[in-house]
Symmetry: C2
Subunit: 226 residues, 2 copies
Amino acid sequence: MNFKSFCKQVKQSAEELYAELYLQHQQQFSIRNQRIAVKKLQKIFEATFQLANEKGFQAMTLRQLATATKMSMGGLYAYIHSKDDLAQIIHSFLNHYCEERFSTLVSNDLSPKEELINLIRIHLYLSELMQPWFYFAYMETKNLSKKHKATAINSELWMENKLQKLIESGIKTKQFKENNSQIIASLIKALLQDWYLKRWKYKKRKTSVDTYAKQVEEMVLRTLEN
Amino acid sequence: MNFKSFCKQVKQSAEELYAELYLQHQQQFSIRNQRIAVKKLQKIFEATFQLANEKGFQAMTLRQLATATKMSMGGLYAYIHSKDDLAQIIHSFLNHYCEERFSTLVSNDLSPKEELINLIRIHLYLSELMQPWFYFAYMETKNLSKKHKATAINSELWMENKLQKLIESGIKTKQFKENNSQIIASLIKALLQDWYLKRWKYKKRKTSVDTYAKQVEEMVLRTLEN
DNA sequence: GTCTATACACAGATAGAC
DNA sequence: GTCTATCTGTGTATAGAC
């Protein structure tokens, strides 16, 4: 699997993405017309990522967001109940988005080693498609209410657990050597996160996600195998 | 080298640390009495880390900081010219601090492999000693002015470059196999950063910095060596 | 050196016209 | 559905007494 073939499987247009978002959070918007809503939502979220990922969500003002989206403050408030609401929607949609994709993409009939590689690639590719979302979610977890923060941490740990279990299976089936599976799982996650956290750097160096994935893969296998 | 022996070499009391900070930024404070200043500075910075690292620097208000340090707003302003000033001091002191320590701790008469391991350990141990500072610097770079942001990025790249050069020397001396030294250097840095970014997690799991260092070391050497 | 009291700006949020 | 106008709270910052 490479990024291109991955895209063919899962990629959707921006319109489809924001339609999904609209439907998921319909109750939170005052707008009934989906066509209009989807268009504006795209503008609002894209501008939010641009502003917030550059100078922080707290530092971004709704007036700036209104200017960037060419809407008025009043208009904006038809789409969000509050500023915190906006952040919360981003977190919760990304969560929903990933859960959905992972559940259809992760296969269970592979060997631990193959499944591990598969999981790594899926994570990297999804974060490539949704980079601003991932970056935002990572940097702005602090802004969430306790309840939503707990959800965020849980989905963090879900991935780590998944990795750890695969490593342990691999050890049992002797594909991997004895190892501290928990630390290694954390380290792998750190490598996966770096891809979307330092995206600007890799972009400048013209490192493709496939190159990156291959290097992570090699590092992980060399660590785990005999 | 382990963390304990490292501490014997470099560790200083909180008082010494903040005295160093006071002297470096003396012009910025209105307080002439060093004894008094050092005590208060410690309170101010520790409270800042607690508040800012939990909910973000922008979200932290100076009123909260005043309460936490049991000072009044007016009192606080004898120590900082502005809120941004406070962030800037943190960045610039950490920068100064690391430069100083690295320059005395990095040895140049070792083999590339040994020097690489040495560098990794120094970074981990320094970030262990100064965890709140490192965490703050990572999460709040956004708040800096353009000029200071550039400095921050430079010191980021300094470490990465250092790692890359050591990998390349190792390849030349055949200690290491052919490799993409630039990507691997970035990946190593990601592993180093995870230690202070996810400190809460490792603490809960009772993972010591030495255990962590050993695992990173193994991962790196297995990747680089034949 | 530290406090209290206060100025001032600007953010988030809403009401009501169109 | 979107705009303009406006309210209200609160954050940063300072002046001046002690």
